[in-house]
Amino acid sequence: MSTDAATALNRFGLGARAGEAAPAEPKRWLKDQAARFDPRPPVIAAAPASPAMAAQFRAYLTELRDAKAGGMGDAPADGKAAAMMVRKDLRVLFRDSYGAQARARIAAALTTPAPFAERLTHFWANHFAVSADKLQSIGLAGTLEFEAVRPHLFGRFADLLLAVETHPAMLLYLDQAQSIGPDSFVGQRAALRSRAKKVGLNENLAREILELHTLGVGSGYAQADVQELARALTGWSVGGFVRRPLGEEAPDGAFVFQAGWHQPGIRTLLGRSYPQDGEAQARAMLADLAVHPATARHLATKLARHFAADVPPLALVERLTATHLRTGGDLRALYAVLIDAPEIWSAPSPKFKTPWEWAVSALRGVGATDAPDLKIVGALNELGQPVWKPGSPAGWDDIAASWAAPDALLRRVEVAQRLASTVGDRLDARSLAAQLLPGTLTAATAQAIARADSPGQGLALLLVAPEFMRR
């Protein structure tokens, strides 16, 4: 039996769904997903968006100021306590939003008619990781995926890159929103006032754009390039989030260019001169970075690692790189190379699933259609991969060595048992196994399931079987 259906469903997709027929033409099924993909399905449209998060944050800042001021007249401790309360309230508010967004992501993954496209969404969201750890990021990390990644999934990489770098989640997470050029209007004025709050350049976003988002580490750029990109990016900010009203008013959460913060002058990046004035300068740099050969190879390597094997096949990396450069970073063309790659179809299940991939495939496997409560979000915590919390802008690792660990296996067995206990004998694991793993189900697994002491145990065994742990 061919393993093509399994490869399409499990490696390219998010796992077969209980009761859904395997695609008759696996490659066509994958290629048609661009047309089926909904960038903004109702479940995601209903989740809290970045303007709402920004408005809440602005209200928080005002409350915080009032709380602190309230303490001035009386005992200072009162102000401190009040400020703590305000912070706590916002944390709760943002956590609720985070939960709603995470559940929306899960629900979209469970019900999508285009699981390959959803997988690509998760891939790019991880490539441009914003970790929901900082207070500001908790409610915003998910909105980057919903608002910047999804709409540009099948467009040009340059557009995806620009959408991400101008999104409030990224600008705040990597401290760009308050980066001010020392020679800018505001920078100069601050320098003149001795007691003024310190303002200045922040290189964080510029560094990660070069190191993580485009060229890749060790690809030949220098510290001077980081600084030049950082200078060009000054003024890129967000309405509603910036504490000191030093610049233009802007709608909450909207990208805003603060001309008064921009470091004036011609910049040089990777040996090329950028004479543009203002916002256009960094835009031009990003456009060039998006189609740089190092970027093409960096992305090709990551895509090949994600879809083919932990050690990416060199020939596939070459083809992806060439396609990127030939098409000017047309993502659809890159996806077509992946779909046509014999390296991916010839090796059954070499990729060990990440906890997210495993949990989503397990839920799809038992026919779940939504995440009605936070239990599954909590389970992903236990499994070691909490949604949108990789802890660093580098995102989660994409190799087995990071995920295949003793305790991690045990956690999966526990979650599988729990999940199976909620399904019980509503599904017959014996027939489900062949459906979820067409052509890849081993005789040993089929036998273990048939010999299980209950339907629930059979289902748990299916969900942790070696061929289900991999995709």
């Binding site: 060990f352 087995a400 295949a404 660990a405 003793p406 305790d407 296996l409 045990l410 067995v413 526990e414 599988a416 048992q417 729990r418 206990s421 909620t422 399904v423 019980g424 004998d425 509503r426 017959d428 014996r430 040993a444 697994t445 273990a448 299980a452 002491d453 209950s454 339907p455 629930g456 145990q457 059979g458 748990a460 065994l461 942790v464 079987a465 070696p466 742990m469």
Partner: protein, 380 residues
Amino acid sequence: MIDRRTLLGRAALTGAALLTPGLAFAAAPGQRRFVFIILRGAMDGLAAVMPVGDPAYAGLRGALADPQQGTPVKLDATFALHPALASTAAMYAAQEALFVHAVASPYRERSHFDAQNVLETGGTAAYALQDGWLNRLVAMLPRDPGMAIAATVPMALRGKAAVSSYAPSALPQANDDLLARVGALYATDAQLHPLWSEAMDARLLAGADGAGRANPAALGKLAATFLAKPDGPRIATIEIGGWDTHAGQAGRLNGQLKQLDATLAALKAGLGPAWAETVVLAATEFGRTAAVNGTGGTDHGTGGVAVVAGGAVKGGRVVADWPGLGPSQLYENRDLRPTADMRALMLGLTAESFGLDPAQAARALFPGGGVRAMTGLLRS
């Protein structure tokens, strides 16, 4: 040992007694509680309630004949109780527990899935009925009394009548049996096998084997808190898995029986005065082979044992029409031959508990027909 035929012979008397004013209390709807404990994986009835008086027993059972964990409790001239069932033994002594031996559902093959379906639906064949026998019982009662103590409602309680379920938020960790099966599944996987071995070693070191084990006593206690309420549910199900002891049975079964024992004890303690109005039936899908196998365990069999406990139970007896364990007496030359119908036991306990007409209840609960209630199992 009380012969089942004797019990059936007294049916007329018991039936008449139902009409006497003295029984009105017992039959009053809303007082009686019925708990169905489903023992998934096939409990070895010959190890739980050991027919030590049967001349063939010791030879068949070999090393399993004599539990190393303690001294079996003598029940009567034929049977002794496994030492792990200490609280149950005390209930037996207080005449609050009885055992029905050589009992089986109508299912005569050896698949867990199919057998559990028959046990829970009350049908005569797997998947013949779409709802559970307890759900049909719920439908016959005047109020809404069904509740599953689990994340999901088991087949036995599933159907048209409304039932609820409740599970503790932190469900038990993976049970030992599942872990062993996963280990076997990974045995030939170069990547997963070493990782799994490490995980199991670490688990032992951390002492998770004791602390992390599924806590059935907590489930029993939880069920009791619901059942004890005056307006709470009257029918509950509890599930205990892990009975499929193909290998290393002596130690594993000891742990399993302790779980069952703790569950029964927790129900009794938690129900307080309501224990007097309670009937608990612990049943499994089938028994296990009469003889020990080559790996210190037993394989899928036929006849087994059911545990009946509760303050409303006329206990202190083993109910069995004992078929014997001799070579010619075994079913298909390997299993304990069933002489009692599990459905007759279920019907007897529930119809009597809830004051239902046995014939009407038989038609509703076990539409396959031919089921005559075992009677006289409860206090009058």
